[in-house]
């Protein structure tokens, strides 16, 4: 652990870096061209964006614009004004729900299956080719197939989360189970523990940290994929929200969405990190 003073200094440096970055951004957007350019008649000016009326192009939003928009969005994050206009909080909740559904479904299948594969070298060798072929398939490549067969866009996006988060959990569980130390299994055998008892009392605790690592990788991928899946399918969710703001060419909103997606991803990872710490053990 670093000394207390060092932590403070690191934080200070982070804040300073952020301030410099945002300051430079703000200056780059706003500092350049002042008002001027070709004079246009008021009727035409009213039909154009202020930047276009001055003879330029609508610029990238400055951090101050984004900040103002963020406050506006966060003031009422759960509003519902019809099917297509819902607050950013509701959209994140939708995405979280889909990610959780797909992820838990994957965990419910991957962990027991991984356990069996890890305990049986034969099954491991037999299933390995399938896993290795399916694992590198981009999750979005599944989307057209899912839409075509499942015929429900919401379930399709849950399926895509499921299919992409199953592999790390499966492989890590199998690996963790297979690499439980032989001595411990021998001790269990000497104590005449049954298969079920050995699995629950020896193998599971021993493999738990590896399994959790797999889950942590999976949730990261799942959160990565949901945004792309929702951009494709639309309807609800933070990915759809990004698409919708893109449709309005609203860069400020997209920057905010990126920020939100990053924060939620961080929180998800931290939550699983806490669980991982709880099951960790020291030899």
């Amino acid at each position: 652990m670093a000394a207390k003073g060092e932590g403070w200094r690191a934080a200070l440096l982070s804040v300073l870096l952020l301030a410099v970055l945002l300051g430079a951004w703000e200056w780059a957007v706003k500092g350049g061209g002042g008002p001027g350019g070709p004079a246009v008649d008021p009727e035409l000016a009213a039909l154009l964006s202020p930047a276009a009326a001055a003879g330029g192009q609508t610029a990238m939003p400055a951090p101050s614009d984004i900040g103002a928009r963020l406050i506006e969005l966060l003031r009422d994050p759960f509003h519902q004004r019809g099917t297509n206009d819902q607050g950013i909080g509701i959209q994140i909740a939708w995405s979280l729900w889909r990610v959780m559904a797909g992820f838990l479904l994957a965990a419910a299948i991957a962990i027991p299956l991984g356990f069996v594969i890890g305990m049986s070298p034969l099954l491991n060798a037999a299933l390995n080719p399938f896993i290795q072929v399916l694992r590198p398939v981009s999750p979005l490549a599944w989307m057209p197939l899912a839409l075509y067969t499942i015929k429900d866009s919401n379930i399709s996006s849950i399926f895509v989360i499921f299919i992409c988060s199953i592999w790390p959990m499966l492989l890590n569980t199998a690996f963790g189970v297979a690499s439980v130390r032989k001595e411990w299994l021998n001790v269990a055998r000497t104590l005449e523990a049954g298969r079920w008892r050995t699995a629950m009392r020896v193998i599971l605790p021993a493999a738990a940290p590896t399994i959790l690592t797999g889950m942590r990788i999976s949730i990261g991928i799942a959160w990565l994929v949901i945004v792309a899946a929702e951009m494709l399918v639309g309807g609800t969710g933070i990915g759809y929200w990004v698409w919708n703001q893109w449709n309005n060419l609203s860069i400020a909103d997209i920057v905010i969405a990126i920020l939100m997606i990053g924060l939620v991803g961080l929180l998800l990872d931290r939550a699983l990190g806490l669980v991982a710490r709880a099951v960790a053990w020291q030899e």
């Binding site: 035409l44 509003h79 075509y148």
Partner: protein
């Protein structure tokens, strides 16, 4: 958290049960039952169907009287012509809760404005209009029946019904045309002095979808100027908002796209409007209100009610007096999600062209629900011309199957709108006359074609 589900404060709930901005008043109630005028129309339609020859019909009527003839007809009109059944407005819709997908462009105006202005509700329907991420998604969700009906590009139901661009033929139909005109060719600012398409060799263009009037019009336009659209220019399928972003990034030279994105390019200072598509083909169809053909037989009353609501909304949208209010209703985040001034410029036709001028073209976009069969035949000639459709088809039969002019005409007549005598008319497209009864001759007249 009391504000969690608050409604928009500008909306007031009126008698139709739907909130809309103060500028709107709901249209008066439709007649409560289908007797009277409606019954007369149905009888007339049955008689016309049974005795198509007008002279014979008149003769029989004077001989036996309408009542006798009709009761005789009831014996031999077994399942009836389904279309006749549709004309009965009193029958309650079999399915009231409907989902309709739309793409957020001004072409969708009738479909979406019918929601805030209560047109669906007045016909006994509870419609949810759902913004959708792209044409392929809208097609797939319509095929999967997640949507009961959908906003589509007019050529899409034709392509789907013929099995072009989809795995199997899926019978879809254009129940009504959403909008006519309302598209434009937008070019990047740097091409201000290249206003002649002859100078466009090597240009990269974007259109919204392969099966779109945009694609066909752009191809026909450059081919007319002597350029081969497959060899001399590049045409990509790009979603409309990305057209503007790509134009800004200098990744494309121009696009033939839907509004409000032509206007958005001008608004953001990245492009100018080269030509409105109404100058290429005045009255050309663009988007359609599409339904699966099975809807007509499975839920005829729902279909009829929906068609009425759409035709009514289309007529309302077409009235120049309503355009400002319609722009106000649909520009917001729940529908188009665009700045008001952009949508208003498109709908009123008073717009900045990006070349420093303000143009006044009130007919920039129009809303006419009638699905002319001649439009469908022209679409087929272009699908054939560019080899999307690789076999010969019976042009007129496909047009009749996919463009439901009879149903739309009936809904229009009920609303007191004028209905054309025949769904075939001679169109003028890029200065050429197109006779839909002679599609082969028209096709043969093209020097540049792929088939």
């Amino acid at each position: 958290m009391a504000r969690m589900f608050r409604r928009d404060p500008v909306l007031d709930v009126c008698a139709c049960g739907v909130g809309h901005p103060a500028a709107f008043a709901c249209a008066p109630e439709a007649p409560p039952d289908g007797t009277g005028e409606m019954g007369r129309v149905v009888n007339e339609a049955a008689l016309r169907a049974a005795f198509p020859n007008a002279a014979t019909r008149r003769g029989l009527l004077s001989l036996f009287g309408a009542g006798t003839l009709l009761s005789a007809l009831e014996g031999v009109l077994p399942l009836g012509n389904v279309r006749e059944a549709l004309a009965q407005p009193a029958a309650a819709p079999e399915k009231r809760d409907l989902k309709i997908g739309f793409i957020p462009i001004t072409c969708a105006t009738p479909i979406i404005m019918a929601d805030p202005m209560g047109f669906y509700r007045r016909h006994g329907l509870n419609v949810e209009v759902i913004r959708t991420a792209g044409w392929a998604v809208i097609r797939d969700r319509a095929i999967a029946r997640e949507y009961d009906a959908a906003h589509m590009l007019a050529p899409m139901p034709v392509a789907m019904s013929l099995g072009v661009g989809v795995a199997n033929p899926i019978p879809f139909a254009v129940a009504a045309i959403e909008n006519i005109n309302g598209q434009a060719i937008t070019l990047a600012n740097k091409h201000r002095d290249k206003r002649n398409p002859r100078d466009w060799r090597g240009f990269r263009f974007a259109v919204p979808f392969d099966f779109s009037i945009h694609n066909y019009l752009l191809r026909a336009y450059v081919a007319e100027a002597g350029l081969d659209p497959d060899r001399d220019i590049q045409i990509r399928s790009v979603p409309p908002p990305e057209m503007v972003a790509n134009l800004r990034a200098d990744n494309i030279d121009g696009f033939l796209g839907p509004d409000p994105f032509n206007q958005r390019a001008v608004f953001d200072g990245v492009g100018f409007i080269h030509i409105l598509t109404r100058e290429l083909w005045d009255g050309h169809p663009c988007c359609a209100f599409a339904v699966p053909r099975s809807m007509i037989t499975d839920t005829p009353n729902t279909y009829a009610a929906l068609l009425r609501a759409i035709v009514e909304a289309t007529a309302h949208s077409n009235d120049p007096a309503n355009r400002v209010a319609v722009a106000q209703a649909i520009h917001g985040p729940n529908y188009l999600n665009q700045p008001l001034t952009v949508v208003q410029q498109v709908l009123t036709g008073t717009f900045a062209d990006g070349l420093g001028g303000v143009q006044r073209v009130p007919q920039r976009i129009g809303f006419d629900p009638y699905p002319w069969h001649s439009m469908a035949v022209w679409i087929l000639t272009q699908m054939r011309r560019w080899n999307q459709l690789q076999r010969d088809v019976d042009w007129a039969a496909v047009a009749e199957q996919t463009f439901l002019a009879l149903d739309a005409g009936r809904a229009m007549r009920d609303l007191g709108l004028p209905v054309p005598e025949s769904p075939m008319r001679t169109e003028t497209i890029l200065g050429r006359s197109f006779d839909p009864r002679q599609p082969e001759a028209y096709m043969a007249s093209f020097a540049i074609r792929r088939n």
